[in-house]
């Protein structure tokens, strides 16, 4: 007979006992080499670095002296592959396989490898510690901060940091109503783009008639330039699962789904592993932590359609149907997946839940702006010095994100605009750099928060060409069900292409505006109704560029090739 060996935790007391034993078994002063194994660093060669460290530690018999942890993304993708030496938090950047030997030998001696430290571009001085790097200074990393302390494939790392304490609290010390009240009070708004108050959604779903209810985690992050959800699932999948279990308990659901892009291989791998471990430890399955509450999570992989990030299309796809949206006059919280009440939230929204339950709505609502509470993660890309993932309190200005955290524009070129919210978002011009970034302020200037992508453009970006790119993307991704979106985007794309090829006509701007109005009003889903945002904002803030293309056959940014037409 095999010995009874199970990791299953049957009560809050057992959870705390196991947590204590994990913490006790670890020496906080032990040196640990942390290597980012996120997608960005892997693309930059982190695999070599990881293999190198493994080999060097083994060859030198240094297992006792040096721990090695492969983690999710700490955010500073620009300078990857990233290595952090704990517990001091010494940051080495752009580490290559050939640097490994030196890092190991110097770290063992207690020395620092100066040449691999980050150089402050303003002062020219080397910076030793992660927290002193300007990129991290203005961030508030409530969700991402733990990433470098967690091996995402190891649930014990998450437990050591207090993981699943919020679930334990929710199940044993709070009623579902109390949890919903707390989430409502926190002011948490949906991070998937719409910004709908999460607690209100939960409450509607809890109150909706129906014995079977579902919760869904939307991880179909398809916006070009968005990698927020990807990194959360790659780096800290248990935080998302914990949020989902708490939500399911509050709503009264026993089945959950994570709908995730099949392209997100690493996130899928880590999430699959996390679900397996959560089941093993009794955080998922029957009688969770001995509470009597049952909940399971299944993964459903998306087939590459952008529109399946739209909640009703997502649910259709989950049901095995063609991923096309339907009207939402009857909300999905009333009639969603398989016609049952369904609560869908995005990855980042779920990840916020354990924080709120652990530290309380009062604390949470002190962070952020008046109407948008908490932090928001942005994936910063484009013409910016520090490409990466940044987590900031809501209400921080665009200028702070782009200049203080993002390090400004490469080669000191002039900032032109930032596109937020993906293809359905809009661009924000230089004159609005002091805009506080939150749900309401972004909407006021014609953009949206969306999924948190922020694409920076400088003087070498043509705004008409930028609008053409996004409309072309949406035209390709429209499901084609409703006429305004399918036919309208096709026409917008044609007009914009004509303008960028020097074939623009007087009246094109007006026609784009008329088309936009119809798409906003009459499209079936948000893909169509938000699609005009890049066009309308570029017309609003960069009308002169459109006019230059159409009237003078000139591209002010020098991007569009119009000269062939001039010669004619």
């Amino acid at each position: 007979m095999a010995k009874r060996k199970t990791n299953r935790i049957n009560s809050p007391q057992e959870l705390e006992a196991i947590r204590e034993s994990i913490i006790k078994s670890r020496d906080p002063s032990q040196t640990c080499i942390v290597v980012c194994g996120g997608t960005g660093c892997l693309a930059l060669g982190a695999q070599d670095v990881i293999a190198g460290f493994r080999r060097k530690i083994q060859e030198g018999g240094l297992e006792k002296k040096l721990a090695l942890r492969i983690t999710g993304c700490p955010g500073f993708c620009e300078k990857g592959p990233l290595v952090v030496i704990k517990p001091e938090n010494i940051l080495y950047q752009q580490v290559r396989g050939e640097d490994v030997a030196e890092i190991v030998s110097e770290t063992v001696k207690g020395n620092i490898v100066d040449r691999l430290l980050y150089t402050d571009p303003d002062t020219g001085k080397k910076i030793t510690y992660e927290s002193e790097v300007p990129f991290y200074k203005k961030q508030k990393r409530l969700l991402l901060g733990d990433n470098s302390n967690i091996d995402p494939t190891e649930i014990r790392d998450y437990l050591a940091l207090g993981g699943y304490a919020a679930l334990s609290k929710a199940l044993f010390k709070m009623s579902p109503e109390k949890i919903i009240k707390e989430v409502k009070k926190s002011g948490l708004r949906g991070r998937g783009g719409g910004g709908f108050p999460a607690g209100v959604k939960w409450e509607s779903c809890r109150r909706a008639e129906g014995d079977t209810k579902y919760v869904i985690c939307n991880a179909e992050e398809g916006d070009p330039g968005a990698f927020v959800d990807r990194n959360l699932l790659e780096g800290n999948p248990h935080s998302v699962l914990e949020g989902m279990i708490i939500g399911a308990y509050a709503i009264g659901a026993h089945q959950g789904y994570v709908y995730i892009r099949n392209e997100y291989r690493l996130a899928l791998e880590h999430l699959t592993q996390a679900i397996k471990q959560a089941e093993e430890y009794g955080f998922l399955g029957e009688n969770i932590l001995g509470s009597g509450f049952d909940f399971t999570v299944k993964i459903s992989r998306g087939g590459g359609a952008y529109v399946c990030g739209e909640s009703t299309a997502l649910m259709a796809s989950l049901e095995g149907k063609v991923g096309e949206p339907r009207a939402k006059y009857i909300h999905t919280v009333e009639r969603g997946l398989w016609e049952q009440p369904t609560n869908l939230n995005n990855v980042e929204t779920w990840a916020n839940i354990p924080l709120i339950i652990n530290s309380g709505a009062n604390w949470y609502s002190t962070i952020g702006s008046e109407g948008s509470k908490g932090t928001k993660i942005f994936s910063l890309s484009g013409k910016i010095n520090n490409t990466g993932l940044v987590e900031v309190p809501m209400g921080i200005t665009l200028r702070e994100i782009i200049y203080d955290i993002g390090g400004g524009i490469p080669e000191d070129r002039k900032f032109k605009a930032a596109q937020t919210g993906g293809p359905g978002g809009g661009c924000i011009p230089e004159s609005l750099l002091n805009l506080p970034v939150d749900f309401d302020e972004l909407t006021k200037v014609g953009s949206v928060m969306g999924s948190g992508s922020m694409i920076v453009m400088d003087e070498t970006t043509c705004m008409v060409d930028m609008a053409r790119y996004f409309i072309n993307f949406l035209e390709r991704e429209s499901c084609g069900k409703c006429i305004p979106c399918r036919e309208g985007l096709k026409r917008m794309s044609q007009i914009l292409t004509d303008i960028t090829e020097g074939k623009g006509k007087d009246g094109d701007i007006g026609l784009l505006e008329r088309l936009s109005a119809a798409l906003i009003d009459s499209s079936l889903c948000a893909l169509g109704s938000t699609a005009p945002n890049p066009v309308l904002t570029t017309i609003r803030y960069f009308r002169d560029e459109y006019e230059a293309h159409i009237r003078d056959r000139r591209c002010p940014a020098g991007v569009c090739k119009l000269d062939a037409v001039i010669r004619k």
Partner: protein, 239 residues
Amino acid sequence: MVTLTIDGRKVQAEEGTTILEAARENNIYIPSLCHHEEVMPYGACRLCLVEVAWNGRQRLVASCLYEVAEGLKIRTNSERIANNRKMIMELLLARCPNNKAIQDLARQLGVKETSFKLEDNQCMLCALCVRVCQEVVGVSAISLVNRGVDREMATPFYEPSDVCIGCGSCAYVCPVEAIKFEDIGDTRYIYWPNNSMEFKLKKCKTCGNYWIPERQLEYIIKETKLPLSAFDNCPDCRD
């Protein structure tokens, strides 16, 4: 029953019916291309948009999908609605410039010409044919293929369908006559926008006219369990 107001008129409607149904019941015209009472509402053509008073604002909704409610105040026409319908018709007119039904509806909704480059389609992808084939006939011989701008109506892989029974419901229900069928001698021809099929017809024992595709008859017998002899005669020659 609930009472609602459509264009200032108080009308009554059964709970669970849609605004479009309630309006038609009361002879109030709302244009539409993708709606048919025999199939589930779809909401694709967006022509049936109406304004519903909502939180002090006028919200545009597809009346074929929006269910009636007590006290609902609806406008079936306004400048905003008209502009949206006009733009949709401009888009359709550019897609199907030679389609008579679309030309007529465009004119009726105040659109004389389109601002866009002309294509040459007949089908505007309302999917009524596909939905009737699935929901009413029950065979799903045709479907929509590809996504977005590449969307088309066709049989799988554009090949002759081995489940199509040749009933012609798709052609019958098409609001713009983009699907045609004709019976010549002992053969029925169905012409879809992207392919076509032929069906052998059965002869009436009495009058000798060809009256039904053999495949359709097989399907009916399978569904109804009636003997083949019940269909010896065409409907005109039955007792």
